[in-house]
Symmetry: C2
Subunit: 424 residues, 2 copies
Amino acid sequence: MTSANESTDFPIQNLPFCVFRTDHDETARCGVGIGDQIVDLPALKQAGIVKGSAYDALQLSCGTTLNELMAMGPDASAQLRQTLSQLLRAGAKEEPVIAGCLVPQSKATFSVPANIGDYTDFYASIHHATNIGKLFRPDNPLLPNYRWVPIGYHGRASSIVISGTDFHRPLGQTKSPDADTPTLGPSRRLDYELEVGIYMGKGNPLGQPVPMDSAEEHIFGLCLLNDWSARDIQAWEYQPLGPFLAKSFATTVSPWIVTMEALAPFRQNWSRASTDPQPLAYLDADRNRASGAIDLVLEVLIETAQMRANGEAPVRLSLSNFTDSYWTVAQMLAHHTINGCNLTAGDLFGSGTMSGSAEGSQAALIELTSGGVNPVPLPNGEARSFLEDGDRVILRGWCERDGACRIGFGEAIGTVLPQSQGKL
Amino acid sequence: MTSANESTDFPIQNLPFCVFRTDHDETARCGVGIGDQIVDLPALKQAGIVKGSAYDALQLSCGTTLNELMAMGPDASAQLRQTLSQLLRAGAKEEPVIAGCLVPQSKATFSVPANIGDYTDFYASIHHATNIGKLFRPDNPLLPNYRWVPIGYHGRASSIVISGTDFHRPLGQTKSPDADTPTLGPSRRLDYELEVGIYMGKGNPLGQPVPMDSAEEHIFGLCLLNDWSARDIQAWEYQPLGPFLAKSFATTVSPWIVTMEALAPFRQNWSRASTDPQPLAYLDADRNRASGAIDLVLEVLIETAQMRANGEAPVRLSLSNFTDSYWTVAQMLAHHTINGCNLTAGDLFGSGTMSGSAEGSQAALIELTSGGVNPVPLPNGEARSFLEDGDRVILRGWCERDGACRIGFGEAIGTVLPQSQGKL
């Protein structure tokens, strides 16, 4: 196993899960990333070298999604990762057998790794909420509930697509401030939103809230998520019931799910500024204060069609961190279930656009450009107020800390294709 | 087949679909209602008397949900209904065989008839939108987008339950206007909302809007839907991203899906008042103007714990009609997909609370009581501002018209249990 020792997002400390297929075998199957390879989990089961409870977990990883494994809770995936960690160490006697179960990532086609029953989008960066609030409600940017309620809304699950899936600029109804009536046309204020995706593991029954202390036992792992947004459609449609068609044309997720276990070295304490209210008791726990935050660096890059044609590398648009979240993943989950709402294995949360307070940490164009007023200059002389056809947006994420091995999240990539609907 | 000839919701002109099980056989299976019986579709297939394309449709009706049949589009269910109609007519020679495939409805336990991938809740009664708007925004009751945009939002699919499923009063964060800070507690303003549910049939691929002319080919049928709502949670959480935990604790659907074919005799023309704007072209079609509306009577009844204890019959709270909808089902569907959003067989739309303009047609307590200010008196001396523990809400719907046989929707029933969460 040399590949995992080089600089990679996927050292042996990471072992993220995915679902993939190859040209050779078109059946989707579950895998685990190591270096530039994927361990084909059904093939590993077939090889017969895994026994005991790790074998039980492997048996749950032989479908076309990870839902069955997710539903078993954190012990199952932990046992599987522990066994893989032993099998994949340099010089392990099983090396020849494992080698037969590896598929190069370059030969894999990934798919959305879970059957996502419900998708919930939170709004957990107070910096994003304030920046957006200023644009939509200049007199009232941050609403009174924000510091008390982990604000979220239900999103569209069917239009969640895997990284690499391009999509057409959406048609929609918009109204310019000086027009009397709305019109139908392609969105002219198309944006990305960098978010952290959070996959549910073990579910909870309807009517039974999950308390803070056990909230993380219901989380399978994290990914990157691009909540593409048509700002002009959103501005016209969103009152009073929230965003709808402004978001439901495409949401991109990265192929890899990084487990909570792999993220353990990158946890840090969570606290509230003395000027902010302390959370209500159902959103508070010692464990959350001690280690609720996750030090995950988040980056957005853009590659325009012109850059691609000229062979120029993508350029960074923003750099932020999941520690900029006002609410932790445990708080999101405890809040989501406090009314008895049932979560199901494979459900997905989005964190909300993860903007920081620093210059250059605004994780959507609408923030970077102050609502499209100040276009972002690009090194090749182009500039962007909002996304243009051919623009490719690349999300990256990684964790690094002294004394711990760096782990990465891979990428979530999508390219905007021109609007081209059939006749309507 | 005598049962269908009596006064019933399910004459041979209806033939609605459902999913059920019995004590005798706990496997969920698809059925069709006739009188007080259900045709067990897998049993009918087994009986071997159905041939041709109706047999193909029957083969798709042998799973634990109706999704496969739904996905085939309206021809498949139409062929099956046509064949059933012939087999079930009085004196048909297949009567003895069919009799062996019947299960009394009184012995059936129903389940949610589809795997609902995504649930979208519209807001299609302008009367409801105005009544609610007055309470939440007295200065601005009907927002400027309402007459142009079929307003909708994504709802929670996992907490959709079948009629008869009781649920606990939800816990949630609320803030009274005179308090400085919010508190956690059981909702004190629990309400129902009478809606029409709309199940998708054949889906559309991501990126391909469904035009108005073919919108109804993507609809499998209608049901009754109770969008239970915690008004105090809603008021505190809903800005800026819409309702979330105020709705996601339970949504009740009726067991029966009445097909668009069965509703054909009850279609009527759709038009806009001259004082309202005409819809944009993508929401307009001759077919929609000619027959877009559906004359479906809708009723809400309440049975309190005290009424139940005293053996008193449920009493009517409201009577309205689906013709009160400002938008047709075709318009909802065309709008939902205009941005390229993909619908999937089994997806569910709610119409939004279907209130009319007349006194007694307000289809939620918050409207009937002007926000809880004027309690509704009940004949037994009780009164209701909002729902109390033990209250049972019953939704009914039916179509009747001179020259057409009356068809019914059955009932959607739910009972409020006291709040009783585990320790948090």
